[in-house]
Assembly symmetry: C2
């Protein structure tokens, strides 16, 4: 493994000068800079990240904390963030919270992160209050992506607005019994679910539609979860004429559940989701589109800006858009 000393020896200069030249710092003669660059190239020299980290305090690594890598939304966000980080020469350390519940606690250990990374990206979950102060103690740039947390930069959509768009669409079509399939209701970690539920409820209230707690169910943000929720909701005597699912994957599950029960979409049931997942068009699913990969990019850009001393932007709210396809229609009864 060739070290900076090898390069220094090769060009008969000090390691200090080699270090400066290779990092593009000013204060090295053009002649020497060229000589050094060429020698480094020739010897295949690559600085040791550990040594750089120890000496400079910068690891050129960003932690990305994700609730579940294998979910579509997070895969896309990670992809977006990775593009930006890689282009800037930063490595991406992935912390997946799925599975082991203790993972979350461990990951947010301040010291652990601060000694290991230059910045942190938190995807799709709202840090708890203690976690927020931990993140603040980090003293490193932090970005929340796909969720919001007061005091911390975040890039996300307006989840309540997205839910309102979806619900309004159903109400406008004439639906009055509208089911909701969301995340688990007891964990408020994920901001999106609760904001989406809030948007749904708000529209019902504002439009003077009676709200039934029983029509709210949990789909766990998975296709299977959505299907199971649909089976529960649609076998009720007073089954809803429409279901708003807080994600397209759950909405797809709802479609499946409806089909299993022999219910036609949209004749017997209207379904609307959120995301504009790759498969939404496939299913002719009406949905509220959000820019997912872009959120990952913005989050990464934000921490990089802070890292390089550029004035970072304020929290950003990206636009959403209702995309009407054929999974929604007026309910039969009210024609």
């Amino acid at each position: 493994m060739t070290s900076i000393k090898d390069v220094a020896r090769e060009v008969a200069l000090s390691t200090a000068t080699v270090s400066r030249a290779l990092r593009g710092l000013r204060g090295v003669s053009d002649e020497n800079r060229t000589k050094i660059t060429e020698a480094a190239q020739r010897l295949g020299y690559v600085p040791s990240p550990s040594a750089v980290g120890l000496a400079s305090g910068h690891t050129h690594t960003v932690a990305v904390i994700v609730p579940h890598v294998a979910r579509w939304f997070f895969g896309e966000v990670v992809q977006g963030a990775e593009e930006v980080l890689r282009a800037a020469g930063y490595d991406l350390l992935l912390y997946n919270l799925a599975g082991e519940p203790a993972a979350r606690h461990r990951v947010f250990q301040t010291d652990l992160l601060s000694k290991r990374v230059d910045a942190v990206l938190v995807l799709g979950l709202r840090p708890s209050l203690p976690e927020q102060s931990r993140l603040a103690e980090l003293g490193r740039p932090v970005a929340i992506v796909g969720a919001v947390a007061n005091g911390l930069y975040s890039v996300s959509i307006d989840d309540e607005r997205a839910a309102r768009l979806a619900t309004c669409h159903l109400v406008d079509l004439g639906h009055r019994r509208i089911g909701y399939v969301g995340g688990s209701l007891d964990t408020l970690d994920f901001i999106a679910p609760s904001a989406r539920l809030a948007g749904y409820r708000a529209v019902l209230r504002e439009r003077g539609i009676r709200h039934y707690r029983d029509l709210e169910d949990v789909g766990d943000f998975s296709v299977t979860g959505g299907r199971d929720a649909a089976l529960r909701l649609l076998t009720r005597s007073d089954r809803p004429t429409a279901i708003f699912a807080a994600s397209d994957e759950m909405a797809i599950g709802v479609l499946r559940g409806a089909r299993e029960l022999g219910l036609g979409v949209p004749e017997d049931l209207s379904v609307v989701g959120i995301d504009d997942h790759e498969l939404a068009a496939f299913f002719d699913l009406t949905t509220v589109a959000q820019p997912v990969r872009e959120q990952g990019r913005r989050g990464a850009e934000r921490v990089l800006a802070e890292l390089t001393g550029v004035r970072p932007p304020d929290s950003e709210v990206l636009p959403v858009e209702l995309i009407v396809r054929t999974s929604t229609a007026s309910p039969r009864d009210e024609g």
Copy 2:
């Protein structure tokens, strides 16, 4: 940031002893070990990864090289690998090759990786010969997951066999004009595509079925790609009565394409995929199931075994299984 010196001072012992105690090395009195552990805990001491890396040469980090994080298969594999690595106290450095073509070249730079990680997991792609020698030069454990490469440990399925199962199933049903939708044919980086194509061709040959080059198309392993390929294949005058797609995502795209053309499945077209993707059951898609997350786990376990000096296993081939659903049936004509 509390350092090992702080802990040493706190307990009035040397940093050497603290280091040994905290790493669980033998040769520390029980009394001191307890005292040290408690002090470290109390002070919230976490060793600096950079310092540990520099001093010991071990980074406790594993590189995971993935062609495309946002694809289902890779998300699952990463998830599996992450579970195992995390449990062993290793961090996961994600290298995504999607997008920028230069990424691949850069990532395989030996020095870069060897100074940064203790081991490497290569997912879903077969390293080129130069890349293989680079990986060998690494002098670190390497595992190929979801592909094979001579000389390197790999965990995968038998792709040719999977393709044979799928194709035989169609032939057994009576199909003679069987289309194939795979990855791009010119890049042989991904072993799976070519092995799957080979399996498809072999079965046709063995069963004395005329093989039309024109019935082989490219679906790019995406839903959209599968759909586009289906539109091309199914608008031919001599359209196939069945299509074998080399992944479920492409198969789902094929279903979509068929629907757009007004073709019924399985009456007008039989479709079979590979994976048993979460959505395969949803689509009643006949497919060849493979254990995906498990491949990620095995790969991670393998490099960990090598790292800890345990005798590592030989390359592993995990079983596949044909799952017949209702997307396949005998062709109408010969019905």
